[in-house]
Symmetry: C2
Subunit: 348 residues, 2 copies
């Protein structure tokens, strides 16, 4: 696959982001939603922060406290056998799971799509009981003049997907939990199909240990049902462990093109392509045998959680996929792929 | 709690059920939905079957094959270290999960609510890709002249909840998957509240290892959203491990009364009560400190999966809760509890 990576990659890194409060440091800025507003490209970045401080014996984690209406700090001893820090993203303590960082969504604006001005304050940060561990991985779907933002909300009650809307990216309206635990990687199609809204989503099945892509339909974007199984991991391939929707699907002459992510057993995340029928988006026309984008550059293979490329959004313009993607749970990159090359890969 | 158990308990057992096909045996008839139709009490029983045969070295499991449109048998060697039979409900083979029995839904009719005539054939059995491992644990909600049946559909893609409808319990219409994996214990409220349908449901959160009761709303019973967390397990109590909705909620002067199930770490399942606000069913008014029904009789403590009482339905008539409940994943029992005694327990 011919991938034109931006020479300035990563285009946004942790050092470019002002922490949301004193005493915090930004540890990652990655999986970003993207939209066009006028002549600007807007990103809704996932910014992961953690409290500075603690000491050699203590790890601090930030949690939004609904009763106080503010973020509080929780201490975990490095020396307690009750605490497990083996996954750098998690803190397991006394059988409970916490996150090692707390994420919010931050707006960035650009005229050329590569050089961004980043807001000093969060656009959306934890503010209710479903968001106490933060907001992650937004996707933006533009529908009838309104931008709908779905994002992952994490709390001790589970990983849900919530919806918000905006017309101007200044005022946002929260619309509630649209997919209950455990569900993420929700990508809402950017137009109705035969009178219904559709969304790809990725529920996790505990008993059967599966992470598959499903499709749901809706009349109002809030209530979703008639769930259909779309596709799962493929044994022995780069997407053998799990798959999930990536960017919001976009229309081509051949059907809906979805750039999804897949991971193998080593937790190496690549991007693949799947083509869905234009009128029956539950029918797969073709799925790429090989990744269309895989971790190869240093900034993709190394970092907080290395060997990860992960997209939540792209712009499809001039028959080019302009992909914004997170690398190594650390930074934001940009790459371009010609549509004809993706279509050719789907035919192999 | 004063519980009047029926003297003829269990009122239905495996020997009362004709297998759905030659070569099968009924291993359990338990968690049952209930409805009134005219002067009859109707049950929609969960009937669990398994193939007769195999030998000392082989376990047979039945699976619905969508390509063949028929049930096929799969063999598992008892001698393979790849196969794990430690949970009697499951077969784990080569990292994949299968069920040791396949369930369908069977209709039974009675005039006195205790002595039932049981159909010779299933009312609803596995017939699509979401039901290849069977149908389980139905609940019936009577809404505007139609009986809506939600039931658990199990397949390798996960545990989902599906909806069907009927007016006469002779013809059933399937309405699709209404809750995606992993979700069961769905109880649809029997009337709209302020213009919306509501349902209790029980998603399983893998990352945070929770099994909590949530509430969803709907305009059409098919698409569900605006999910709200209602309640979870209580540390150190009889419902410390997991909870899930049981019977369809019913109205009292005090609010919606829901009889739910809870399990402790020993997988002992009891029934409790929770009272929800009449107009805001996401608000808990009271929750019983102790179970209202717990495994005490021999037929409740012993059996295929002992120490389990589990309800999917009750009739609320003459201020009495007429509870139909499964015992030990083996048989169906009946008990009566006075409403005033449940209300008193909620005040403790």
């Amino acid at each position: 696959m011919k991938v034109r990576r931006c020479r300035e990659n990563p285009i946004i890194g942790p050092k470019d982001i002002k922490p949301s409060r004193e005493g915090f440091e930004v540890v990652g800025v990655f999986n970003t939603a993207v939209a066009r507003l006028g002549d600007e490209v807007l990103l809704l970045l996932r910014v992961a922060e953690r409290p500075v401080g603690g000491d050699a014996n203590t790890v601090l984690a930030a949690i939004y406290d609904t009763a106080k209406g503010d973020t509080i700090l929780k201490e975990f001893s490095r020396n307690s056998s009750d605490n497990d820090f083996s996954d750098p993203r998690l803190i397991i303590s006394g059988g409970r799971t916490y996150l090692s960082s707390i994420s919010h969504l931050r707006l960035a604006r650009s005229r050329d799509g590569v050089h961004f001005e980043i807001d000093a304050e969060p656009a959306l940060a934890g503010s209710n009981e479903y968001e106490t561990f933060g907001l992650e991985d937004a996707r933006i779907s533009f529908l009838s003049g309104t931008y709908y933002i779905d994002y992952v909300a994490v709390s001790p009650n589970g990983v849900t997907t919530c919806l918000a809307s905006t017309r101007d990216f200044e005022r946002f309206e929260r619309l509630g939990v649209i997919f209950c635990p455990e569900n993420k990687d929700v990508a809402i199609f950017p137009r109705k199909i035969n009178g219904k809204y559709y969304a790809l989503h990725r529920p996790v099945s505990s008993l059967f240990a599966t992470s598959d892509i499903w499709l749901a339909e809706s009349d109002d974007l809030i209530c979703w049902g008639n769930h259909r199984y779309i596709m799962g991991p493929r044994a022995g391939k780069w997407d053998e462990l799990k798959v999930g929707a990536g960017a919001v699907p976009f229309e081509t002459e051949q059907g809906w093109l979805e750039i999804y992510h897949g991971a193998d057993r080593a937790n190496r995340y690549c991007l693949g392509a799947v083509l869905l029928d234009a009128e029956k988006p539950w029918e797969i026309i073709a799925r790429s045998a090989e990744p269309v984008l895989e971790p190869q550059a240093d900034y993709e293979t190394q970092g907080f959680f290395g060997n990860v490329v992960f997209t939540c959004g792209l712009l499809f313009e001039d028959n080019i996929l302009k992909i914004y993607y997170g690398v190594a749970d650390t930074a934001v990159c940009y790459a371009e792929i010609e549509l004809r090359d993706v279509i050719a890969a789907l035919a192999e």
